[in-house]
């Protein structure tokens, strides 16, 4: 493995010296995401394997090219999981790509996002230096928390080679309930439930149906089901629902219409934008299929206190991610420059010039 890392480091050094660009790719399951990828392909698949897994420490250290499915299977054997519920989108998705994309699944609102579970990282920066940040312990405030900031950076700050992640036990019991209701009432109920000590682990609303997943101790789930009412889904239907939402295999995500991911305060009002809609994360994530101009969508979402991402389909040469205020953009450019001054990694994948 050291030879591989050394070879990569040399490749980065040469690219930096010669104006080269590298397009980092794990399993290619998120090739659709972000602005158009450019650069010479650097595939991370050879850098794989679990380096250290201590179930009783709740920590796993894993090489970036390890398939997500392989990692999750190892954790499941010990009754544990990546609690942020990472989407796979396609076979072959890797843990490195998962952290670089920073995307979380249905459990996000209940337990936290990708960055909340990153404890440490090893990466090659744009100078070819191999750096290690964070560690394998839960609490660590030595140095700036660079490893968490890698979540969602789309590989533009460095080539991630290893990650240490916090893992959690799988819940003992789970139940999914369905309620008939409209969007406004669903948003209201989700926020009210969010303020109560209920074991909610996922939620979704679409076209008249509100779905709520409860996870935790058997007694807690049982008590919540009894209290909330609704119609219980059988295990198979529930698994298909949440899996379909996580991996976008649900029919809502089919077709070629632009797919927008709207990240909003959970209590933001109904969107009132035309297009088909799906609400998740207790109201904090809303998907929209719409051909409305980007400017209209961004304006409405901004007014509601959120931001909009053109997630799939549509124009990948323009802005996929929400435009940043000038002072914030300047900080982001400086940070990119600090790690990758020659602009080697995934140029322009996140924003033009980053």
């Amino acid at each position: 493995m050291d030879d591989l890392i050394q070879a990569w480091s040399e490749r980065v050094r040469q690219a930096a010296a010669g104006g080269g660009r590298l397009r980092i790719r794990g399993g290619g399951s998120k090739d659709f995401y972000g602005r158009e990828p450019v650069g010479e392909l650097l595939e991370t698949g050879a850098c794989r394997g679990i380096v250290n897994y201590e179930p009783s420490e709740l920590v796993v250290s894993v090489r970036a090219g390890t398939p997500l499915a392989e990692l999750e299977a190892v954790l499941a054997e010990r009754g544990q999981m990546l609690a942020f519920d990472p989407p796979h989108f396609a076979a072959g998705a890797t843990i490195g790509g998962c952290v670089a994309a920073g995307l979380a699944g249905p459990r996000r609102a209940a337990v936290g996002g990708v960055r909340d579970f990153v404890l440490g990282a090893r990466l090659i920066d744009g100078r070819g230096d191999v750096l290690r940040f964070g560690g394998e312990v839960m609490k660590n405030v030595a140095g700036y928390d660079v490893s968490r900031a890698l979540a969602g950076s789309l590989g533009t700050l460095g080539l991630i080679i290893e990650l240490s992640l916090k893992v959690l036990p799988r819940p003992l019991a789970e139940a999914t309930l369905r309620f008939d209701t409209d969007e406004a009432d669903a948003l209201h109920r989700l926020n009210v439930w969010g303020g109560q000590p209920l074991p909610v682990s996922a939620s979704a609303w679409r076209s008249g149906g509100l779905y709520l997943r409860l996870s935790g101790a058997t007694a807690a789930v049982g008590a919540a089901v009894a209290r909330l009412g609704g119609e219980a889904l059988d295990e198979g239907a529930a698994a298909a629902l949440w899996c379909g939402l996580r991996d976008h295999t649900d029919p809502f995500f089919a077709g070629e219409l632009p797919l927008w991911r709207l990240s909003l305060p959970s209590d933001a009002l109904a969107l009132e934008l035309d297009g088909e809609q799906l609400v998740e994360w207790g109201g904090a994530q809303r998907w929209l299929r719409s051909e409305r101009p980007a400017a209209d969508i961004r304006q409405r979402v901004e007014a509601l206190g959120g931001h909009a991402t053109l997630f799939r389909h549509g124009d990948r040469h323009g802005q996929c991610f929400h435009p940043l205020p000038a002072a914030m953009l300047a900080l982001q450019r400086n940070l990119k420059n600090a790690f990758d001054p020659a602009g080697v990694f995934n140029p322009g994948r996140l924003y033009e010039g980053l």
Binding site: P55, D116, K139, A149, G195, A220, A338
Partner: protein, 504 residues
């Protein structure tokens, strides 16, 4: 191209600020601040000469107490223009000297930013100014059945701005997370006087996620002016189990067994026998005095959930060889169990004129090794050390007992502490879990990180603060300091402990 990048000058050697002109600075600041908000006479500056790390004292040139964000912007612009160091300060309860003033600098106190700007019960968030005390947020949220989860032991005094700066923890982190996990948005001002918002009211923000960089940055990247925190529904019930063990390693194994069984307790704390004895004498919590170690394990949630979890915890503790297991019968007893743990620091203060608190975090499975090594160090340095431990997340707080009035004692305690921290790194852990590096652990940063990482940290700082004016000399050592410290370490008679262990 790579060669166009200029390395930050402050990364190699500390900047010399001796040219700062106090009269000119005071004059410029007096245009922004009323006289009561601008202190520059020595007797007025004295209260600011140290934070919770009282062994290090330094009077600043000036203390400013702005009341508005616009004033903060103006102050920072003046300091940037005159190239003056700025040290932001909350309640001054930090234990690592992070708010220690700079000799040629300004202390920017956020004490007058003390308003809770809003509690939105429906959206479960509170918007507060940085000078609001940690506990005050939970008090304001209590009528809605909500609270702010992170609870550092100093929560009655420490402020949320300081919590953000340190990424503070507490006794409930394993289940409820650190400060970073409970923030939505931090609004701050850069040294250039630009207002920037990190995070958002949604669960993420576009572009790089700078919130984790700013959180725990010890006032090195920006000055916080407003914080939006997440509020958590208050659990219906909490119950605590107290278990005694005749061996610390057995207690450590019990902790691992609880977690391996898929339980994430709300709190999981351990104390060794000397710590138990010290607090028992002080607060009469009812701790067994003959035990080598005691564990406190808290469960919270619905009554059904708690009953189920407590039953499982009890069985695991008994199977792990606990000599006694007691479950709190009511809220008064639960609070009594905790009172002892929370009084560990004051109790140390009662049995010793001074104590020095360490903050390393190690993988839990290394606990036995660490405690044995600390016992050997007690003999080596002829000094006592009592141990309290956030067992759930591996965060150790050894309290080294000493007497600052005895010649050499302070120095010996520091050497003792440094050895514990370096062993924490060697065991696969970190020198600081929640108290921050500040000035206190700046040398040990050199044992945790190699030159390329230290350089990267300086570049991160320069991305926010190119001239290195915010809290200079803290948190990240200069390369020069690390080189000197390396030479000093090489010269020691006993070289670094466990050189064969892998480092992370």
């Amino acid at each position: 191209m790579a060669d166009r990048f200029e390395e930050p000058a402050f990364g190699a050697v500390e900047r010399d600020f001796s040219q700062v002109d106090k009269a000119r600075l005071v004059q410029a600041l007096s245009r922004v601040l009323a006289p009561a908000g601008l202190l520059h006479e020595v007797e007025d500056l004295r209260p600011y000469e140290c934070d919770g790390m009282a062994a290090l004292r330094q009077v600043p040139l000036v203390v400013v107490l702005p009341e508005t964000e616009a004033q903060v912007v103006e102050i920072l612009k003046i300091c940037a223009a005159q190239q003056v160091p700025v040290v932001a300060r909350g309640a001054g309860t930090g234990l690592s000297g992070g708010a220690q003033p700079h000799r040629f600098g300004v202390v920017l106190s956020l004490a007058r930013f003390g308003k809770i700007l809003g509690v939105d019960a429906h959206a479960r968030r509170a918007v507060v100014q940085p000078g609001v005390r940690n506990l005050a947020i939970s008090e304001a949220a209590a009528p809605f059945g909500l609270y702010y989860a992170p609870d550092p032991s100093s929560q009655i005094a420490c402020t949320i701005g300081g919590n953000v700066a340190e990424n503070s923890g507490g006794v409930h982190c394993l289940k409820y997370g650190l400060t970073i996990h409970n923030l939505l948005k931090v609004r701050g001002v850069t040294i250039q006087g630009e207002i920037v918002e990190f995070g958002s009211l949604a669960l993420d923000a576009p572009g790089y996620d700078l919130l984790p960089l700013v959180t725990g940055s010890e006032g090195m990247l920006a000055v916080v002016t407003e914080v939006t925190v997440k509020l958590t529904p208050k659990p219906q019930l909490a119950q605590c189990v107290l278990a005694a063990f005749d061996d610390v390693v057995k207690a450590g194994d019990a902790v691992a067994a609880i977690i391996a069984a898929g339980i994430i307790p709300a709190g999981l704390e351990m104390m060794d026998q000397p710590a138990t004895a010290a607090v028992e004498e002080f607060v009469k919590a009812g701790y067994p005095l003959d035990a080598e170690a005691i564990l406190l394990c808290e469960s919270d949630g619905t009554p059904e959930e708690v009953a189920e979890e407590i039953g499982r915890v009890r069985a695991i503790l008994e199977n792990s060889g606990a000599t006694a297991v007691r479950v709190s019968r009511d809220e008064a007893e639960r609070l009594r169990f905790w009172a002892g743990r929370k009084a560990a620091f004051p109790a140390a203060g009662r049995i010793s004129p001074d104590y020095y608190c360490m903050d390393g975090t190690i993988p839990r499975k290394r606990l036995g090794e660490m405690l044995k090594a600390i016992q050997a160090m007690e003999r080596k340095y002829a000094m006592r050390c009592i141990n309290v431990f956030h067992a759930g997340d591996g965060n150790l707080h050894p309290l080294i007992l000493f007497d600052a009035n005895k010649p050499g004692d302070q120095h010996t305690a520091e050497a003792f502490g440094a050895e514990i921290l370096e062993l924490s790194v060697a065991l696969g852990g970190t020198i600081t879990g929640e108290h921050g590096v500040g000035i206190e652990k700046i040398n040990q940063m050199c044992s945790q990180f190699a030159t390329p990482e230290i350089k990267a940290f300086h570049r991160v700082k320069a991305a926010f603060d190119p001239a290195g004016l915010l809290n200079p000399g803290k948190a990240i050592p200069t390369l020069n300091r690390c080189a000197e410290y390396g030479r000093e370490r090489m010269g020691r008679t006993s070289p670094q402990a466990h050189p064969d262990l892998p480092r992370f």
